[in-house]
């Protein structure tokens, strides 16, 4: 079932992997600055009119940082390569058709009445897909090299409300929980003769109700219990004083990373907003 593969990929993306690379030794805040910067630059690179090689360059640089920093993406995903290629292709093809509305000089492919592929839509699909891949890699870089509790603590220290930081971290932790509950429910229903492996799309969608209803019930109960456990461990979201088991100091490398990442992004925003840089379609 492709849903399991998607959840499996999500689980692999968010799971911390111990390591000794430079990314593991960096402060979560500097890595977060890097993520924000790459994400921001990715938005620029995926904007209409920006040549696709900017997006590709950003993607390659992000991959380079990730692999030299001790996060080995290829190892993690080699078993799931076909699913990743499938997801990327689906995303790319979707964008190929949604991009047809822009002004275009060359129609490359047309099936009346709806399907039109132009040079602009190809550009759109390539840049959006590169943006998706870059975003996945940069978030993976952060989550696979950072303890979630370090991240939660760090971002709450720079002003993000602890409730938001906590909910974000807990949501990430919930991915494996949802996957496990879904697997058990899926198996339990198949064992009662519900054929989720066969049938047309309509039948499969109809069967999803039998899968989702017990899953949602189990998840609601689990989340209720999690809330009780949190409170029994003394969680008080209004409490501003909180300590952490690991020291979270900012080294010179961290400060430099934050300065370059956020500085670069802010500069780009200012230059664009003031019209000093103008993005042109290179088509």
């Amino acid at each position: 079932m492709i849903l399991f593969e998607v959840l499996g990929i999500a689980e692999t993306l968010v799971k911390y992997e111990p390591g000794k690379g430079y990314l593991h030794t960096m402060n979560p805040l500097s890595k977060l600055a890097l993520v924000i910067s790459v994400f921001g630059l990715g938005i620029f690179a995926a904007a209409p009119g920006v040549p696709w090689f900017w997006g590709l360059s950003l993607f390659l640089v992000t991959c380079l940082i990730t692999s030299t920093g001790g996060v080995h993406l290829y190892q993690e995903f080699k078993d799931r390569k076909p699913y990743i290629i499938f997801i990327v292709l689906i995303f790319g093809v979707m964008n190929l058709f949604t991009g047809r509305g822009y002004e275009a000089e060359n129609i490359l492919f047309h099936i009346p009445p709806w399907f039109t592929v132009t040079d602009v839509s190809v550009q759109f699909a390539v840049t959006k897909t590169l943006f998706l891949l870059t975003s996945i890699v940069v978030f993976t870089l952060l989550l696979k090299s950072t303890h979630l509790s370090d991240l939660t603590y760090s971002i709450s220290k720079v002003g993000m409300p602890y409730a938001v930081a906590m909910i974000t971290a807990t949501s990430v932790r919930c991915v494996p929980m949802v996957t496990n509950s879904l697997k058990v429910t899926y198996n339990a229903q198949r064992a009662r003769g519900l054929d989720l492996d066969k049938g047309n799309i309509k039948e499969r969608i109809k069967h999803m109700g039998s899968l989702m209803a017990p899953l949602i019930l189990v998840l609601i109960k689990t989340i209720d219990l999690m809330a009780i456990v949190f409170h029994s461990r003394g969680l008080d979201l209004s409490n501003k004083r909180r300590t952490h088991i690991r020291e979270m100091k900012l080294s010179a490398v961290d400060l430099l990373t934050i300065f370059i990442s956020l500085g670069g992004l802010i500069t780009l925003i200012i230059l664009t907003a003031t019209g000093i840089i103008e993005w042109q379609f290179a088509g």
Partner: protein, 571 residues
Amino acid sequence: MEKAVISIKNMSFTYKETETPAVQDINLEIYKGQIVLLLGKSGCGKSTLSLAINGLIPHLIEGEIRGSVETCGINISEQNSAEMSKKTGFVFQDPEVQLFSMTVEDEVAMSLSNMAVPLDEMRSQVDWALETVGMRGFELQDPASLSGGEKQRVAIASVLARNPELLIFDEPTGNLDPVASRKVYQTIKDICSSGNHTVIIAEKDLGALIDFVDYVVLLDKGKIVSTGTPREILQQVELLKKCGVRVPACVQLGLELQAKGFSYPKLPITAEELVKPLGVFKTAYQSDKPNLDSTAQKGVVIEFDQVTHQFKNGYKGLDNISIKINKGEFISILGMNGAGKSTLVSHIIGLLRPTKGTVLVNNEASVKFTVAEMARRVGFIFQNPNHQIFNDTVHKEITFGPKNLGWAEEEIERAAIQITRVASLEGMENKDPEGLSIGEKQRVALASILVMDPDILILDEPTTGQDQNSLDDMMAIVAELHRRGKTIIMITHDMDVALQYSNRVALMHKGKILWQGPVQEAFFQKQVLEQARLNQPEVLKIANLILKENTFIRDLNQLRYRLFGEEESVI
């Protein structure tokens, strides 16, 4: 006079949206250093009482509370749960839902972090808590990668780290095998040995806790029906049975021997205590009452031929397994958590496919069929009925499977009526399964599988979460199906249930079958049992101490017959 750590006066609590109080008229005092057991079947009110003592009721769980609860000198109505958590720690049954962090040390440090404990102090408290529960060296491991017993010990460490005066455990060993359970209880006892902690444990069963607790509070239908030391409580056999609590075989037999004139200085609670005054027991009833009620017929229905299953992470769930199961057999698959029991049975219905080797069901490879197709031949009852049940009435739940298989409406109704009767669910057809007790839900799950009339029935841990009465009801149904010729495959941690019902046993450890054979021989394989970390059933242990070695009996009735020539209890 010593001041009570917990003082409860005339307390009642009714959950929001219900009319009947979950607990009522509770009056209780617990003193420092005591280990107290709240004992009773599912729904008796022990968890509600635990949550009220901890202050989670009424602050987090809504409802109407009456009377007063004072815990560690604090009136629970006047302090919020965060404040209460400084004095008390609560460990829940399911370790999965109480471990949130990506590393063990983060998990243990969470409550200290919430209390803003300085870094140095936090580090030493975390180290001490992990040391106490025997989990030093696991600091940087992902809790999700630990075994069930290890997870529960991390959960204990995470409440122990802030050194609360009061520790509350709600069925802490519900999902664990007997050896892991004993380790958890030993950990609790070690924590208490300093005398600085008071411990409350809520459990359905007293058997495993006799040696560990000082005081027992027996609950039934939300009320305290008896209190006393474990020995005092165990004297009240009829009351325990009425409350759905299993009475250990040696206690039952000890009381019967006392009634027959044998003298014990105190109620025997272990097999050794029971047999001590008996010496060499002279009995006129040495001849075997027939107990080899084998219903196994000719013909193999399931065959594993050199099956290996390797998970994606490289771990071998099954390692070159070969086993044949005959038609009409009742086979129990025994082993500790993680031994490979569930992995083994998952191959029969096709939930897992072998990495190597073949699995044949009725002489056909299971890989040729989808799970739904296999469901016509093999019924699989999952451990947690909540994962199977989703319809809004019991009747719809029962008819769901046959509808999937495309049965005619008349045939479905006829089968549903019959199965409703077999599973003792008459009168509940239009009830919402969500409102049923765990035992009733388990019977609904069983009925929803039985209605498809599979020839083979797989039960995955049917004893988990069940009190004695629910378990007896469920196993009576299963035994009847077996008598009618169904092949039964049961995974269980409960050695007494395996002994009582099965005619063959497979002992598993680390993905291998260490031993397989008739139940009459299984529990005398001392070395294998030790290797598989399993215990001999209590009743068999007694029989072998009282009577000659390697005497096989299935249950207390058979032992009683061998001793006195009668099956019925004299008390």
